[in-house]
Point group: C2
Chain length 129, copies 2
DNA sequence: GTGTATAATGATAATCGTAATCATTATTGT
DNA sequence: ACAATAATGATTACGATTATCATTATACAC
């Protein structure tokens, strides 16, 4: 039996922080943002709610870079660019048509629910240094 | 000063195993494959050489799924499909034209060196069960 | 072949992001 | 208020990966 979700102010705040940034936060960053405002926040709660949001589709995982998972509250279709030098994660437009998941489903015989496109390289700031 | 690489039979074997499979191995799998043949192989050596191959571009990282990094010795452009249920990683054709990195470079002002496209869903075996 | 320099390895311990545990607190509905 | 239980804080546990270091293997000069 699935459990009923109760309201939680801390959870609301975590989601609000996730939605308030153009960055692609990890657990520690979310925690640092909220600690001044919510002194009795636990890092475990951040991890718990990130896992919940991800499971429920309220946020997406961009991927694990250098051992750290990064999230994105913008679930609309778009691609990402990861700088190998400074680690910045930038947004890109979708770049591909919406039929790509259907194409992948047809090719594999399975069901593709979504896809993630990640470019690796040097960002504008890092490419000449 | 960059160091000169010396020949190593164990390194050769690790690369041979990586190239011999259609799977997308992680460190533990490579280790298990070679242990019967090379009893005195260390898991640390596998990790060391995977990192070396990746750094030198001889293999690619497909990504970290469920906390485990998976590699691919096939460096030609193609996409991947990851089954959420059984964890299988399947190959797909390129699906996009080769101009995508140039496009990402132009949009960001940086230099995109490569990209990775990963579909998430249920594979043919898992989708009805 | 012997010797020297040093890259590569095995064994082990350390790291560190994340998940599990459990007693306590907060929320919901009566 | 009260009972039921979801959510949290504090802490510990976990597990993949990386670092350490003494030992071994490779390359190369002589």
């Amino acid at each position: 039996m699935e459990t009923t979700r109760k309201h939680s102010f801390k959870r609301d705040e975590i989601l609000r922080v996730l939605r308030s940034t153009k960055r692609h936060p990890d657990a520690a960053w979310v925690y640092e943002q909220l600690r001044p405002v919510i002194p009795d926040l636990s890092l475990g709660t951040v991890y718990r709610n990130l896992a919940l949001f991800k499971r429920e589709g309220e946020i997406l995982s961009v991927g694990v870079f250098d051992g750290i998972e990064h999230f994105d509250a913008d679930t609309s279709p778009h691609a990402h660019f990861v700088c190998r030098r400074c680690g910045a994660i930038l947004d890109l437009p979708a770049l591909t048509d919406g039929a790509l998941d259907a194409e992948a489903s047809r090719l594999t015989g399975g069901t593709a629910q979504r896809h993630e496109i990640v470019f690796y390289g040097l960002c504008a700031d890092c490419k000449d240094s």
